[in-house]
């Protein structure tokens, strides 16, 4: 049996330390690491504080998951492509069998949909999420107002026009969602538009100011 004690003067310790010092300090991760991290971050963002329900988690969507369309077409080398139907109501005449590329999508019979029992909860969670987005927007808009006089007129016009465009889109999508709260795609689209609003306001608030 090897003596289990190492003397502090043992020269092999120096050699071991030198070998440890030579180890690379950085190792690149797999390419798939960031998408997985982003998906977890974005899932957590959609659910408001205290509303960590399994339903809410299922609904929170990562943009890197496949959209649950009713039918799917393949763009192949020999053909131009054709387009596909909306996500739920239309019976997909050309619905294709799932492949490895779509194994994470919802089943074709209930694409982009939430089970009926969760529709009420879906509406409630969505309104709670929108309230969080709206509150964040109000805070950012307040900051923007304080900076407005020191931005160029062209910039102010671009920002305000964009905010009007976004708010119209939010209004349309929310109205549609109230009629169809089972639509996961609508939720995802709304999430996308809301995030664009917050991003626009953040960027506007970080623009350099003209000196007064």
């Amino acid at each position: 049996m090897t003596d289990h004690r190492l003397s502090p003067d043992d020269p092999r310790l120096d050699a071991l330390q030198r070998a440890a010092d030579d180890l690379p300090r950085e190792v690149a991760p797999a390419a798939a690491a960031w998408p997985a991290i982003r998906a977890r971050i974005e899932e957590a963002r959609v659910v408001p504080m205290g509303a960590q329900t399994p339903t809410a988690r299922r609904r929170a969507s990562s943009r890197w998951r496949l959209a649950a369309a009713a039918a799917v077409l393949v763009v192949g080398s020999s053909a131009t492509t054709v387009l596909v139907m909306r996500s739920e109501a239309d019976a997909p005449a050309t619905a294709a069998a799932p492949t490895a590329a779509t194994t994470t999508a919802a089943s074709p019979s209930t694409p982009g949909a939430t089970s009926p029992g969760n529709v009420g909860a879906a509406r409630q969670v969505a309104r709670s999420v929108w309230a969080d987005y709206d509150a964040a927007s109000v805070d950012l808009e307040r900051v923007l107002q304080a900076r407005r006089s020191r931005l160029s007129p062209a910039t102010v016009q671009a920002v305000e026009e964009s905010l009007r465009t976004i708010d119209r889109a939010i209004g349309e999508a929310r109205a549609a969602f109230e009629k169809d709260p089972a639509s996961r795609d609508l939720m995802d689209l709304l999430d996308s538009v809301y995030r664009q609003k917050l991003d626009l306001l953040r960027r506007a608030n970080e623009l350099p100011l003209r000196s007064s």
Binding site: M1, T2, H4, R5, L6, R12, L13, L16, Q17, A19, A20, L23, P24, R25, E26, V27, A28, P29, A30, A33, W34, A36, I37, R38, R40, I41, E42, A44, R45, A136, L198, D199, R202, E206, P208, L209, R210, S211, S212
Partner: protein, 187 residues
């Protein structure tokens, strides 16, 4: 040259991204991720011995995202991320590490040596085991002590505090790790 006016403060791009990420900008967080992930990933691989390293990396960056608003710049961001990574790992393996810490301080060092060395028998006795693979095969507590102290430069007391164990236990685990590594690398 006159001093820059207050309106002409150009923060570094990294400062920009930290501030943006703290306010919820995921794209900015992604840039911070790309800057620091290499070092954090190396740490995750070595701490886990390669098993579950990808899951740990994800857990670490999700935790960094959650805690980023509390980062006040008292240290470099990379150092702060590093500590978060260590903490996430240690918390996740707390029970396993504590169990091993009790074993290390048992009264039967000879049997410990045999048990620990058993894991170092390779499938291919003729193959050289390089240091990375040897580290990967260390018992978890010894591996953590070696990686954190001899590779990452933490003090015994820091490692002990993070794990909630005595500094003497960390020293014992470190000694054990070094002994096992030397034996394996010489074999």
């Amino acid at each position: 040259m006159p001093p820059l006016p207050a309106s002409f403060s150009i923060p570094s791009p990294m400062d920009d991204d930290i501030a943006r990420a703290q306010r919820g900008d995921v794209d900015a967080f992604e840039r911070l991720y790309r800057t620091h992930v290499g070092r954090v990933n190396a740490l995750c691989i070595r701490l886990t011995g390669g098993r579950g390293a990808e899951e740990l990396l994800q857990d670490v960056f999700v935790r960094i995202w959650e805690k980023l608003p509390s980062f006040r710049g008292e240290s470099a961001l990379g150092s702060w991320m590093h500590r978060v990574a260590v903490n996430v790992y240690l918390v996740s393996r707390r029970s396993e590490l504590r169990r091993e810490a009790r074993v290390v301080t048992s009264d039967e060092p000879e049997s410990l040596g045999v048990d620990a060395a058993r894991g170092f028998v390779t499938d291919d006795p003729d193959a050289r085991i390089d240091l990375e693979r040897a580290i990967a095969r260390l018992p978890a507590g010894a591996r953590a002590a070696f990686v954190l102290h001899d590779i990452e430069g933490y003090l015994h007391e820091e490692i002990a505090e993070m794990q909630g164990i005595a500094a003497a236990t960390v020293r014992a685990q470190l000694h054990r790790a070094r002994k096992l590594l030397i034996e394996v690398l010489e074999s």
